[in-house]
Amino acid sequence: MGYVMKKIISLYEWLLNNDLTKEALEVASLHKDAAIIDPVAEELSEIFEGEELKEEVVNTIESQIGKIKNQFPDLEILDY
């Protein structure tokens, strides 16, 4: 077994033994649902370019809505 592979395995075992991966995941999942109790950022998130939603994000949303419409052809979506 190569040196790098041994290092990776020992790091993985260390993480498992210290249960850090699980803990990190738990912290991340807790953090996700608690926005209003977190400090306020200076700027909007990276899905925006200035104050406009990035084109890539718009396209993904539209393509996913397209899939939903294909599955439910009767679905009528209201405009604001």
Binding site: H31, A35, I36, I37, V40, I47, T60, I68, L75, Y80
Partner: protein
Amino acid sequence: MVGASITYQYDPTSDIDTTIVIPLDVMGTEEFGAADKWIEANIDNKKFYNERPYQFKLSSEPSHKNLSSDAVYDVKNKKWIRKPNQERSEEEYDELIADKSSYENKIYKLLEKTIRKNILNLHEAAVENLDSINESGISNKLKNIMYRSYNRYKVIKKFRGKGYGGRWQAEMFENEYMPEGMAQWGGQALDTNKEVYQYKDKRVPDRISQNWATGNIVYKFLDREGYHKVYSMVKEAVRSNFKTYKDENEKDVPIDKSFLETLISYLNAVKDDEIGFER
């Protein structure tokens, strides 16, 4: 779009939440439910922008109308319907969350005190049961405490929703979970007569949105400090009549020693927690 990722309070994993507004009179409630479930199984969390999953919800009501969202972005027309207000978010964060003497922090402190006894009882019974669970199952003592805990959890869940309408204090009072002294902090005294059910949180209309209602803030404090993990396990156990619970892969597995070990680890994380919300 709604949700944290379009406000100034987000983290790298905040969802990209899109609400699809549909007329309910065209799509019946049954079809609506089926479509919602299909979306959850086939569309949600299948695409990501960095660590942010795309999620979709059907709704018959535009969320900007009922003030349930801090911000609303119209994806189709690429414009804000409700712009997030950074300055007001900072003000409300400082006043309601960061200020330890805020109404929300005081309520949370009292609530945490009332929960503490239940947590300690659960911990004691779970530890006692650890060696015997494989032979004789969950002890009656632990079952009884879990039932009581489950009822408490239902009230906690309720006051998140009721917080929006300002009625959660009344619900707690009705269920005898209102600690002594809590009633005075609403700016008006509560009593046991019918007026208590008319009680409204008059502060909410002045806040950015209903997300900032007392009940929701307190719920998020509980979540962050780890209490929901305990009560979620208890809920699953009680609902399955102490037969199964969901493991880390969301699969139903029989309740055994590993259930108690996980429950105890969650209880250990909260049983000695300092009273009051600490980041």
